[in-house]
């Protein structure tokens, strides 16, 4: 078992060997003295390789070896308590259940949005996206406010009717519910893209053939988007397996452990057992690697089999819902209320109360801004905000700068081994946040430089974590730029660096900006890596919320949450407007 588990984790290590190759081989091709181009390219490649591989290397080494040599004791300690089956069972049930829920919800919403004339279209789109903007930790806390057996508003509401608290969020079902709803926007976005790229006449011709709506959906539409569906399933399976907030906040209370929360638990117990945590992390990593590999395989296969022959352009014509329109309308309002309005309102409600209680006249009359005042006056809040800003801005800047060059290497250059740079930049995608945090602490605990316990270690974690996203934004932009634009600059006599600066960067700027903002936004809610790497004084906003949760000061937490959601909404709106503006200029 252990040997099996170890195998996939070694693969990234093997990648190091070929990556050593290119600079040597390409030297012969470049000849001549050391050019700035060579320095930049080699520097970027080295930085990416370092960020992607070193933590993994340390993790594997630290898990399998101790001072005396190969030692599998850590696995025994991690899995030896006879609860391994339960751990796997919970993890799979949690991931599978969340995937099922979010796929059902996300796909239905996407189909309704793209292919039918739904009522409240704008509201609908917002409802489908907003859960993505709300940080996972806040979303989870909101649901605790709503459906905890002790303090949940929903329970307080239904208890008199049903004679008992019907909802308990601190169960595997509660975890699935929150995680599933929170990930449904991811499915929604993936499926919206899939439905949009599908020629509507494929569906229309089914209708013309006499098929009913349902038959057309079952026999034509769904089979055609199956590749997208499959990859959504895998994406959600992996993100739920890697999810930390939901299992930690909802599962730890009743001892429902999944891999991520177990790793956290092991590290928080005394005596701290890095090896055992590592053993858990390696297993989780292995599962994630397999998941990603399978999804790649399926995606490749899918695109081959399902290449559809389409006409020139097609105008998507939304289908009339007919008599179903009111039903769908009510459904959308309900969904909007349950997934967006409810959690946000309860957060605001809690933020305005001196202590959490069910709504009543008394509660309403005790509304106060004290919590907000407390937040503003709190030293740690100002510090956390500053830290979050510093980290977000620096991580976004560093990642996008590196990835601009990396995307050139992988798409434009003829440097041998260029593909490896791209692959390396995507490695962190399979590393769960908590595993990344653990790996990085493995590295810098053993590192002579005083990085551990500073903001720098968080910055390294953020850069690693968001490298794949930056790369995706940069490569997408890069492929859209005709290579002739670059070649004509070269022919005009510009050096590589001048060409890059004067021609490529300006053309890449929309994609780079979009990537920058994306990283800024997501780094604000990063919790799973930060939680293992922060030290007092270096808290970020999400950690501050986590600390409030642990201290049981829910109302202050809610106030921070409200401020954070407002700030994120503003940021996302600016990003959206900016994106639209940049997009217009592109035209």
């Amino acid at each position: 078992m252990t040997a099996n588990l170890a195998d996939p984790a070694v693969t990234p290590e093997e990648l190091t060997r070929p990556s050593d190759g290119p600079p040597e081989r390409s030297k012969a091709r470049w000849r001549g003295p050391l050019t700035p181009k060579m320095f930049i390219v080699a520097g970027v490649a080295a930085a990416i390789g370092y960020l992607a591989l070193v933590p993994l290397g340390y993790l594997v080494w630290g898990t399998f070896f101790d001072a005396e040599g190969l030692d599998l004791g850590s696995f025994e300690r991690a899995y030896g308590d006879g609860r391994m089956g339960e751990l796997w069972g919970n993890s799979l049930a949690f991931a599978g259940g969340s995937a099922l829920l979010s796929i059902t919800v996300g796909t239905t919403l996407a189909y309704l949005n793209v292919r039918t004339a739904v009522p409240f279209k704008a509201l609908f789109f917002a409802a489908s996206i907003v859960p993505l903007v709300i940080p996972g930790i806040l979303y989870t806390v909101s649901w605790i406010f709503l459906a905890s057996p002790e303090i949940g508003l929903l329970n307080a509401f239904f208890e008199p009717i049903l004679g008992g608290a019907p909802f308990n969020i601190f169960t595997i079902w509660g975890m699935i519910w929150v995680e599933g709803l929170h990930s449904s926007p991811i499915v929604f976005l993936l499926m919206v893209a899939a439905f949009r790229s599908m020629d509507p006449s494929l569906e229309e011709s089914a209708l013309m053939s006499g098929a009913t709506r349902l038959q057309a959906l079952r026999k034509v539409t769904l089979p055609l988007v199956r590749p997208a569906l499959l990859s959504s399933v895998l994406v959600i399976l992996i993100t739920s397996l890697e999810s930390f907030e939901v299992p930690a906040l909802l599962g730890l209370q009743n001892g429902i452990y999944v891999f991520t929360s177990r790793i956290y638990f092991v590290l928080r117990s005394y005596p701290q057992d890095l090896g055992a945590a590592g053993a858990l992390a390696v297993s989780l990593l292995a599962v994630a690697v397999i998941g990603v590999a399978v999804s790649r395989l399926l995606a490749g296969k899918g695109s081959k089999t399902y290449q559809t022959v389409t006409g020139k352009g097609f105008r998507p014509r939304p289908m009339d819902l007919g008599k179903w329109k009111p039903v769908v309308g009510v459904g959308i309002l309900f969904y909007f209320f349950v997934t967006v309005l409810g959690p946000l309102l309860v957060l605001l409600y809690a933020a305005l109360l001196p202590y959490y209680q069910a709504p009543s006249w008394e509660a309403l009359s005790s509304f106060t801004l004290d919590n907000f005042v407390q937040v503003v006056e709190m030293d740690s809040a100002a510090r956390a905000l500053r830290n979050s800003l510093i980290l977000g801005l620096s991580a976004a800047t560093i990642v996008m700068a590196l990835m601009a060059v990396a995307s050139w290497i992988s798409i434009r250059s003829t440097i041998p081994g260029r593909g490896i740079v791209e692959q390396l930049s995507f490695v962190p995608l399979v590393i769960p946040g908590i595993v990344l945090g653990l790996s990085i602490s493995f590295v810098y605990l053993r590192f002579p430089l005083p990085i551990y316990g500073t903001l720098l270690i968080l910055l390294i974690a953020y850069c690693t974590k968001y490298m794949p996203y930056g790369m995706r934004y940069a490569t997408t932009s890069m492929t859209q730029i005709s290579s002739e634009l670059e070649e004509s600059a070269m022919v005009s006599g510009a050096s590589w660096w001048t060409t890059f600066r004067r021609v490529l960067l300006p053309l890449l700027s929309p994609g780079i900006t979009a990537g920058f903002i994306y990283i800024l936004v997501v780094s604000f809610r990063e919790l799973s890596s930060s939680i293992l790497l922060y030290s007092p004084g270096n808290e970020v906003l999400s950690i501050l919320i986590w600390e409030q949760f642990e201290n049981g000061s829910f109302n202050v937490l809610a106030a921070i949450g409200v401020l954070m959601v407002v700030a994120l909404m503003v940021m996302v709106t600016i990003a959206y407007k900016l994106g639209a503006k940049v997009g217009l200029r592109e035209d």
Binding site: T212, K219, L224, Q307, G311, K312, R317
Partner: protein, 381 residues
């Protein structure tokens, strides 16, 4: 067979966009504006016009994929759509109209084999009307044989060539033996060579099967070659309806004359008219011509002269010859099966397409002889 009355379809919400686009100041809100026509049994009826003229919207309304604002659509004695303000309104959904349709993109389902694609319309019938498995496969094989696709039956539909895909789309549309076949620019995705051969193939099949068809295209050559009737559409309205030859030789207005083929347009005034024989004064001389438009004396008209209606000669037919102008060759181009000449006549330039045996050098004075039966009058709006 197919009757369409006062069909109107406007796109709400596209108002401002439509208005902005239209430079002439016309409101382009109506995609289809009061269109009426009738298609007889066995005809191939073509809706011809530039993009955005409403031809596809008309076709999709017949199919039931688009809901018109008002009007009537009936196939045989079945009313498919009716909303006239008074009486009960009818709107059969597309899947209950039982029509065949070939889409521009063919819309061949890539996840099914050739056989499955064709069998689909039979398989999705309501349980009571669904033919037995054996009958389905017989009917599919039969229609595949007609389309010469029998050998491809088990193949993945996406592996077919462009021409085969077109035949597959046709087979799928015809397998239910629909009373009416709708074709939405079915040849526009193919390259020029294939398009031409498939055009005849399509015509042959349509005539052989005798299936009433409505064909949408923006390609005038295709329309002329295939149709029994052509409706030329502009800005949502039918501007001319007639046989291909009528539309070509007697265009109802300048738009039709310009859209179908190339033409020389010379303005003039009607000097005399008797039973369709007009005498038109132009700045280049008098023209005698026959036209179905009976224009009163003194009215301003435009004379449309097809390039192939002009004959060039270096010798005059004589002082008093009718319909003879003088001019000078400005340019010529050898096209293989003809020679194009540009001749300057007065302040006009006239294009003449003549037999390759006639080729006259630039700068040569020539006589242009215009066949009175091949030139037409276009009323000035």
């Amino acid at each position: 067979m197919l009757r369409i009355h006062n069909l109107i379809k406007s796109f709400a919400g596209e108002k401002s966009r439509g208005k902005k686009k239209d430079e002439a100041g016309h409101s382009a809100v109506f995609a289809v504006n009061d269109v009426s026509f009738e298609v007889k049994e066995g005809e191939l009826f073509t809706l011809l016009g530039p993009s955005g003229c409403g031809k596809t919207t008309t076709l999709r309304s017949i199919a039931g994929l688009e809901k018109p604002d008002s009007g009537t659509i009936a196939v045989g004695d079945r009313v498919m759509f009716s909303s006239t303000g008074s009486g009960r309104s009818v709107n059969l959904p597309a899947n209950q109209r039982g029509l065949g349709m070939v889409f521009q993109s063919y819309a061949i389902w890539p996840h099914m084999t050739v056989f499955d694609n064709v069998a689909f319309p039979l398989q999705v019938r309501p349980r009571g009307q669904r033919p037995a498995k054996k009958e389905i496969s017989e009917r599919v094989e039969r229609v595949l044989a007609t389309m010469q696709l029998s050998e491809q039956s088990g193949r993945q539909a996406t592996k077919l060539s462009g021409g085969q895909q077109q035949r597959l789309a046709l087979a799928r549309a015809l397998v239910i033996e629909p009373p009416l076949l709708l074709l939405d620019e079915p040849l526009s995705n193919l390259d020029a060579k294939l398009r031409e051969s498939l055009r005849y193939e399509l015509k042959r099949l349509q005539r052989e099967l005798g299936i009433t068809s409505v064909y949408v295209t923006h390609d005038q050559v295709e329309a002329l070659a295939l149709s029994t009737q052509i409706a030329v559409m502009e800005r949502g309205a039918v501007v001319q309806l007639g046989k291909p030859r009528e539309v070509y030789e007697q265009p109802a207005n300048k738009f039709v004359a310009e859209f179908i083929g190339t033409s020389n347009f010379i303005p003039g005034t009607v000097a005399s008219q008797q039973a369709g024989r007009h005498c038109v004064e132009t700045s280049n001389g008098t023209l005698f011509l026959e036209s179905a438009h009976h224009m009163p004396v003194g009215s301003e008209v435009v004379v449309s002269i097809r390039p192939e209606a002009v004959e060039l000669s270096t010798v005059s037919r004589g002082e008093q010859a009718a319909n003879e102008w003088t001019g000078e060759v400005v340019a010529r181009a050898f096209l293989g099966d003809a020679v194009d000449h540009v001749v300057s006549v007065g302040q006009h330039e006239v294009r003449a397409r003549v037999n390759p045996s006639v080729s006259i050098e630039s700068g040569t004075p020539v006589y242009l002889q215009l066949d009175p039966s091949k030139i037409s009058l276009v009323p000035v709006n």
